[in-house]
């Protein structure tokens, strides 16, 4: 079927106009459709190659967890690949009683273990043997990673999923004629998910944590930085969860997650590529339309109280020093976010950015220095990272960063600097239109935290930021009382002790 290239031409035409003239909007022509059950469908046509980039977003992340089940959203994301009542199993009717038996044995084992000195080790052994038996029988019924295989066979690329603080994303790019396959499998996951191989997957996640956090100085530092920065708000715990929470996670915990958050009214579908939107609407209605709306998930009501004094954290570990600094800032939707976007660019984008010029080229005290001020659904932080260059210390680099922040507070940014950022933003927008996959990710991530329309005013709102705005925001937020500093200190001996203490069972 031949498709016209009309749509993308329209986008290009708009762009030509605006990059060469003034004040035209840089915008995506996204078509929106909401199903009766609340699923929001966002579509963008791009007909240059017969492919389609698909995303399904569930608005649930670590921010929706509570102590005791930290990491549940992420573990659940892993479970989404284990199949449903009709995928991943040769016979669900035979498997079902085994899954029930598994639950029963696990709670028996947990109860027995919790008796401490009273634990009946004979009984425990018997229960564990029985559990192994159940798993063995179940194994013959499982079709390993079948949904994944079916996607691959059909040419899927970029197959993956990710969990963040605010949302969970499922990624898939397919040849465009494969859209119905995706709709069928994803709707089935939303309807009939089965938590199979839960306990081995929990072990996999513990290995993931060891790899990403416990044996990575940077991972460890960020975890400690966030834990100290947020005293009340759930951004304080890591997305992957604390080790003891992962270790003790029950199927029931994540199953509750599924009920509450993996509902159609909490989901967004994004389709970018060689599509006919009317056909896509029919297809999505056909497969997802019959899923029942659920009660709206609970809101996150905890607000991080204003920080009233600097916090400093030292992480002692067998590695070279790394510095991190976090300042509280407001959530997306607050007008100051646009100012932070500009500050991030001034400080940290490219070889002409202030941190690069000052810390790396002039003072030569660091080998890496970044500022990051991206937006989140709830109030989060503006962060700095830097690796000092020996023998310069993290504290020296810290001072140099504060000097740059002082400059922002007292000296207006030049028009030339602002114009450069404007040019980069506009060019960045045009470049983003090259990739269906990139556009799908961008649309889904903004939709998850603010609504996709945020993209269409982003450039305009950001280039409207003035030198006065920057001075005002710098003075308001980059205060000593509003910051948390975490420094990784090289300590061979401590590294050893820490590693032993962290050893999982």
């Amino acid at each position: 079927m031949k498709k016209t290239r009309m749509k993308i031409f329209i986008i290009s035409a708009v762009l030509f106009f605006c990059t060469n003239s003034f004040g035209q909007k840089l915008a995506l022509d996204v078509r929106e459709h909401t199903l009766d059950n609340g699923i929001k469908l966002l579509m963008l046509e791009k007909h240059d190659v017969p492919i389609v980039s698909l995303r399904i977003v569930y608005k649930v992340g670590s921010v929706n967890e509570h102590p005791g089940i930290t990491g549940a959203s992420h573990l659940f994301e892993h479970m989404m690949f284990k199949g449903t009542e009709i995928f991943g199993t040769k016979d669900y009717d035979s498997e079902k009683p085994l899954l029930a038996k598994e639950d029963e044995l696990i709670s028996g084992i947990t109860a027995e273990k919790s008796k401490g000195n009273e634990t009946d080790s004979k009984k425990l052994e018997r229960l564990q043997e029985e559990l192994e038996g159940v798993w063995k029988t179940q194994k013959d019924l499982i079709v390993k990673d079948e949904m994944w295989s079916i996607y691959l066979k059909n040419g899927a690329t970029g197959l993956n999923a990710s969990t963040g603080n605010d949302a969970t994303y499922y990624y898939c790019n397919l040849p465009s004629n494969r859209l119905e396959l995706w709709a069928f499998m994803e709707s089935d996951r939303m309807k009939n998910l089965v938590l199979r191989e839960f306990y081995s997957e929990r072990d996999v996640v513990m290995e993931e944590r060891r790899m990403r956090t416990e044996n990575s100085p940077f991972g460890l530092l960020i975890e400690q930085l966030n834990a100290a920065t947020f005293t009340a708000h759930p951004y304080s715990w890591p997305v992957i969860g604390w080790m003891s929470d992962i270790q003790n996670m029950k199927k029931a915990d994540v199953s509750e997650y599924f009920e509450q958050y993996y509902s159609p009214n909490n989901a967004v579908i994004v389709v970018v590529g060689d599509i006919n939107p009317d056909e896509v609407i029919d297809l999505i209605e056909k497969h997802f339309g019959d899923i029942e709306r659920q009660p709206a998930p609970p809101e996150v009501t905890t607000v991080e109280p204003e920080q009233i004094g600097e916090r400093r954290v030292y992480v002692e570990y067998d590695a070279n020093p790394v510095l991190s600094i976090a300042y509280h800032k407001p959530a997306i939707g607050h007008p100051d976010q646009y100012v932070f976007d500009v500050i991030e660019a001034i400080l940290s984008t490219g070889r002409t950015s202030r941190l690069y010029k000052s810390l790396i080229e002039e003072k030569r005290i660091a080998v890496m220095a970044h500022a990051y001020g991206g937006a989140s659904k709830y109030a989060d932080t503006f962060i700095f990272f830097s690796s000092p260059r020996h023998p310069h210390t993290a504290e020296e680099v810290e001072e140099a960063i504060y000097e740059e922040l002082e400059k922002l507070k007292t000296t207006p940014v030049t028009d030339h600097e602002l114009q450069k950022i404007k040019n980069q933003l506009e060019a960045g927008f045009v470049r983003s239109l090259e990739s269906a996959s990139g556009l799908a990710s961008e649309i889904s991530s903004y939709e998850a935290i603010a609504g996709w329309r945020y993209i269409n005013t982003l450039v305009e709102r950001t280039v409207a930021v003035t030198p006065e705005d920057i001075m005002r925001v710098a003075n308001k937020y980059f205060k000593k009382t509003n910051r948390t500093v975490a420094i990784l200190v090289n300590n061979k001996k401590k590294g050893k002790e820490a590693a032993h203490e962290n050893k999982g069972s």
Partner: protein, 505 residues
């Protein structure tokens, strides 16, 4: 400058890809990879769907996709520059990605790090007529970038600009390639930063493992055994004269292949290229002889102590180069063994069944001379030997038994149906052609790609597994804390302990 514009015929067959007209697991499955030239169509072996869901989706019918990938034009200029050009007028963008025949393999051992240093300072140090600050400002103000780098076996240079800035972009790009200044102060800065990177090399197992594995894999006098960034002493040995000479030798028009894509007119851009590179002279290059890699298999068990709670494991042996005649069957074999994510055997066993790792995979590294086969995973200390054995068993098994029809079909279908994703942008289309020619592959590589996959049989897989996998002659490297391992590594043979020493102490 006179040119001889050869409109080289790529002997491009008209590629018509009919992407699976029905789902592969179904009985009605038809996979046609049409080669117009030979008119052959291949139908792989069917396997029955194992789950109810797979049965349902196997009955789905999809409209065939017709897609003819755009064909870049190959032009050779008088001065020897090889160009691949592809006009793409959808967005006002312009890109060049160039490959130079050079690399760390051509640097003397006592000056290890020379090539990499040249690659960085070429751009960072500015040119004879542009200070680094001027160049950075000039480029970043128009949201353009020029970057250079030299890796083990190639040099790269890139330009990205908006259409309206093509002239300025080309001017700076050509200036960087032809007239880098290599100022002493910038060389010092770059060296100091490299020394800091070296200092940080032992901070995480991730940074240690392949560095040490290369040393075990290749003889010390072979450049494949060395670090591209060099060593403390060798970096200090490098003089500005060395750098100037290295640049002068390899950055020649007759030593480059450029891929040019975006919103331009071919004739116009050719004129502009001739113009900006007018002073660039063709010169015969005398490439230093690189010793051949010794093809020798000898088992060795190597251990590095690091105080971490998770072992990093890699094992493997010398294998193939990129031009090996069995490249395609080896790729498919490895997909089944451990290169095809969850569905392949090593991750399926080590990760999915046993929950012993988050990351577990195998691969073939294929440089110009003999590369290596490897399998790698990270697992908690207490399951180290168990995980190694599981992975090793899979390597043995694939040599001894035929792979299943379903596994072979999955691997081949994945490659064939993902093929279309090689053409998702004009930059990736020209980039591929540059890579193909640089590697010395036949220029009709993409035209015959699908057919090369289609013809692979399970007998081919068995043959290449036997020929290229040597599970009894592996070199094993484990980083971790052996005291905590389930069993000592002496299970596998005599253990050679490698001391990690910081070069800075």
């Amino acid at each position: 400058m006179k040119t001889k514009e050869v409109n080289f015929s790529l002997n491009h067959l008209f590629i018509l890809i009919l992407i699976l007209s029905s789902l592969s697991i179904g009985h009605t499955k038809t996979v046609f990879a049409y080669d117009e030239h030979s008119g052959q169509a291949i139908e792989p072996v069917m396997t029955a769907p194992q789950s109810e869901g797979a049965k349902i989706v196997s009955a789905f019918e999809y409209e065939p996709i017709e897609f003819t990938p755009p064909k870049p034009e190959r032009v050779v200029l008088d001065n020897g520059m090889i160009l691949y050009l592809l006009e793409d007028h959808e967005l006002p963008l312009f890109k060049i990605a160039a490959h130079f025949r050079t690399g760390a393999i051509y640097e003397p051992e006592e000056k290890a790090g020379l090539a990499s240093l040249v690659g960085s300072v070429m751009r960072r140090g500015g040119t004879k007529s542009r200070t680094p600050e001027q160049m950075n400002e000039e480029l970043e103000f128009i949201a353009a970038s020029v970057e250079t780098g030299i890796s083990r076996e190639s040099g790269s240079a890139s330009l990205s600009t908006m259409k309206k800035d093509i002239d300025k972009g080309l001017e700076v790009f050509a200036d960087v390639l032809m007239n880098p200044a290599f100022p002493e102060d910038m060389i010092r800065k770059e060296k100091d930063e490299i020394l800091e990177d070296i200092r940080r090399e032992n901070d995480t197992p991730r940074k240690i493992i392949f560095r040490e594995f290369r040393k075990i894999m290749y003889k010390a006098d072979h450049p494949y055994s060395r670090k591209i960034i060099g060593y403390k002493d060798t970096v200090e040995n490098i003089t500005r004269d060395d750098m100037v000479a290295f640049h002068k030798k390899y950055f020649r028009p007759n030593n480059v292949i450029m891929g040019i894509s975006g919103d331009f007119d071919t004739q116009e851009i050719l004129e502009k290229l001739k113009d900006v590179f007018a002073d660039w002279e063709k010169t015969e290059i005398d490439f230093p002889e690189v010793p051949a890699v010794e093809k020798k298999f000898q088992r060795s068990i190597n251990y590095i102590y690091k105080d971490v709670n998770q072992a990093s494991v890699v094992f493997g042996h010398i294998a193939i180069n990129r031009l090996n005649k069995d490249y395609f069957p080896i790729k498919i074999m490895n997909f089944i063994l451990g290169g095809g994510s969850f569905t392949s055997r090593i991750p399926s066993k080590v990760r999915s069944d046993e929950g012993l790792a988050y990351s577990a995979y195998s691969g073939f590294h294929t440089p110009r001379d003999l590369g290596f086969f490897f399998a790698s995973c990270q697992t908690k200390s207490e399951s180290t030997v168990k995980a190694i054995n599981f992975a090793l068993d899979e390597v043995r098994k694939i040599r001894e038994e035929y792979v299943g029809d379903d596994e072979l079909e999955l691997a081949k279908d994945t490659y064939i149906n993902q093929f279309i994703f090689k053409f998702t942008s004009s930059a990736s289309i020209v980039g591929q052609m540059v890579g193909i020619e640089y590697e010395g592959l036949p220029l009709d590589y993409l035209d015959t790609y699908v057919e090369n996959i289609e013809v692979i049989t399970k007998e081919d897989i068995a043959r290449v597994a036997k020929e290229y996998l040597h599970p009894d002659d592996i070199k094993l490297l484990v980083i971790g804390d052996m005291e905590q391992f389930d069993k000592p590594l002496s299970e596998f043979g005599e253990v050679n302990t490698i001391e990690l020493k910081s070069e800075q102490e």
